[in-house]
């Protein structure tokens, strides 16, 4: 590899996050602040792009355009009287660091892999540029619209002159925004072409190291909110159970890669962890099935739970999947830091164990509150499948309700099966988390991560105070070098 790829990659990830975070702010975009930071950002992006060895003509042209469309000295227009936007400044600093690193260490690539790394770095720089240009242009257009005189009859007329917001004038804003739109289009065209040239595997070899812990933390918080809603939606309960099942499956794939790479003890994984993961996986499936789609509470599914589940699946899929199948262990090891990810997953399974405990409480709790409803036929069928012939007097559904296809309130005694299934899950999860705590590698006992410092641990503190806290995790999942 011709450069210290992880370092360059990390810097580019930071840049990407900074420019994207401009759009995350819920306040209005501040055009003048973005415009004030823009020239330095464009210069840094141009320098970084030029510093990647062996640029193709398209990259050279784009790098030259980053210098600005106007004559010297102010090629992006006159300076704007505003404090530069901090996100764009941070991104500029990162790109300048990338340019510096590449200038010092990069050499023309001598292998296909190195050439791909170069292409990927170029692509990330241009992506940051396009997002930065988009946000700045958007901010300037918004700024220009605020400075435009109000149309008669469409807005209230205020007496006196319209005071300009500090910073760019109307014409200045519109012109720079228009120039940025052109640059953005150029960048987008470059990326579209690069996408055609670039092999898929190269593009997937980098996974944002910050993404998984944050997604896991968000998932943990969301599941707790969903499971403690009053009442929770039955759809959400099944959705959580199925997502936890998927989490276990991805964990199996990632820990297998960690075992192959001797990051964790391969015998411990095969003998202790694998079977328990499989048991817990099946148990989550059973729990999900105990909340059939015909059963309802008064609550519809929560979009936040759907979104959190989608994020979880996507973040894990980025690590474990390749094309139509699973990624090879070696590829997973290239994509992520296996020791850290193993620790994060260990914490996530600890949180899953707490979820499992909540699933034990829920059936009876909801039934006692009279919040659970289901077709009488379903309840009859559930009794029959559980080989539990119950009479009406013992809490079975009434014959007339079954015959008339009525929706009835589920009684506490009718939830015994679901509670039993959840108890089995709780036992499986307890066995799994205990096994994970004892997993070691022969040559050392360094802990994976300090649980208290992980984002998940921080998120766990958000839980409602009256709920049981998770069993303390001791960070015993040990690793090799």
């Amino acid at each position: 590899m011709f450069v210290n790829a992880p370092t360059v990659a990390e810097l580019l990830h930071d840049c990407s996050r900074e420019v994207r975070s401009i759009m995350w702010d819920i306040t209005t975009l501040n055009g003048p602040e973005l415009a004030a930071a823009w020239p330095a950002f464009a210069a840094a992006a141009g320098a970084a792009l030029s510093a990647v060895p062996c640029p193709d003509p398209a990259a050279r042209l784009l790098a030259s355009r980053m210098a600005g469309p106007r004559p010297r000295p102010n090629r992006w227009g006159p300076p704007v009287d505003a404090d530069p936007d901090p996100h764009l400044v941070a991104a500029s600093t990162g790109l300048a660091a990338v340019a510096g690193l590449l200038a010092r260490h990069a050499a023309p690539p001598t292998s296909a892999v190195a050439a791909r790394d170069g292409d990927l770095a170029r692509r990330h720089i241009v992506e940051a540029l396009v997002i930065g240009a988009h946000a700045t242009s958007l901010g300037l257009f918004e700024h220009a619209s605020r400075l435009s005189p109000a149309r008669t009859g469409t807005t209230s007329q205020q007496p006196g002159p319209r005071l300009a917001v500090a910073g760019a004038t109307l014409a200045q804003s519109r012109r720079l925004a228009s120039e940025l739109d052109t640059l953005q289009a150029h960048g987008a065209h470059y990326l579209a072409e690069a996408g055609v040239r670039e092999p898929r595997r190269g593009a997937q070899s980098l996974v944002d190291p910050d993404r998984l812990p944050h997604v896991l933390a968000a998932w943990e918080v969301t599941t707790m909110r969903v499971l403690h809603a009053s009442p929770p939606s039955v759809r959400d309960l099944a959705g959580v159970a199925h997502a936890e099942q998927a989490l276990l499956m991805h964990t199996m794939v990632i820990l297998n890669a960690a075992a192959q790479a001797a990051v964790i003890d391969i015998d411990g994984f095969a003998g202790q962890i694998g079977p328990r993961l499989a048991d817990a996986h099946l148990a989550w499936g059973d729990v999900a099935a105990s909340w059939p789609v015909q059963m309802t509470t008064a609550s519809p599914p929560a979009l936040v739970a759907v979104e959190a589940s989608a994020e979880l699946h996507q973040a894990l899929g980025e690590i474990t999947r390749e094309g139509n199948g699973w990624a090879a262990a070696t590829l997973i090891a290239e994509r992520v830091h296996l020791r850290e990810v193993s620790g994060q997953l260990r914490d996530a399974l600890g949180a899953g164990s707490v979820c499992a405990a909540r699933f034990v409480e829920l059936p009876d709790e909801l039934a006692r509150a009279g919040q659970l409803r289901a077709p009488a036929r379903l309840l009859g069928a559930m009794d029959a499948s559980a080989d539990r012939p119950t009479s009406e007097l013992e809490g079975g559904p009434r014959t007339t309700d079954v015959a008339n296809r009525r929706i009835v309130t589920v009684l506490p005694e009718q939830t015994a099966g679901a509670t039993k299934t959840a108890r089995r899950l709780q036992q499986a999860m307890t066995a799994l988390t205990q096994a994970l705590e004892t997993l070691r590698l022969a040559d050392g006992s360094r802990s994976v991560t300090d649980p208290a410092s992980s984002p998940q641990a921080a998120a766990r503190q958000v839980r409602l105070d009256h709920r049981p806290q998770p069993a303390p995790l001791k960070g015993h999942l040990s690793v090799g070098r």
Binding site: R235, D236, A238, G239, H242, A243, Q245, A246, M249, V293, P300, P301, A302, L303, A305, V306, S309, A310, H313, G317, G323, N324, G325, W326
Partner: protein, 118 residues
Amino acid sequence: MATSRNEQGDRCLARAWALLDRGEHLARQGDGDDAGAGLWLLAANAILRARDALEAVHPAAPGSRGRQVLVEETCSELVRSAARQLARIPAGHEPAGLRLALVHLAQADQEVQERLCS
């Protein structure tokens, strides 16, 4: 007229919900291949998210009118049929947030197609 269009929209949503529900059920059964079972689980979860997103934006979607007997189709056909149902909702009568459900539906379709291509 507006009521009739509303009803048409509701029917489309209910049918799409029912198609996705059936699709999820089929995906959970997988194709009987143990090696691909895990990936089918992910496909089923994607369909489940599309169905739940649909229900979240239109809680009446699991209504009885859409729960008619479904012609036995493959998982892929069910997901695509659901997309067609949503496309039939009259313009201007889409529930707020339908776009989000469509995003999840597109992801579900991609997951299922990947399973068929593997």
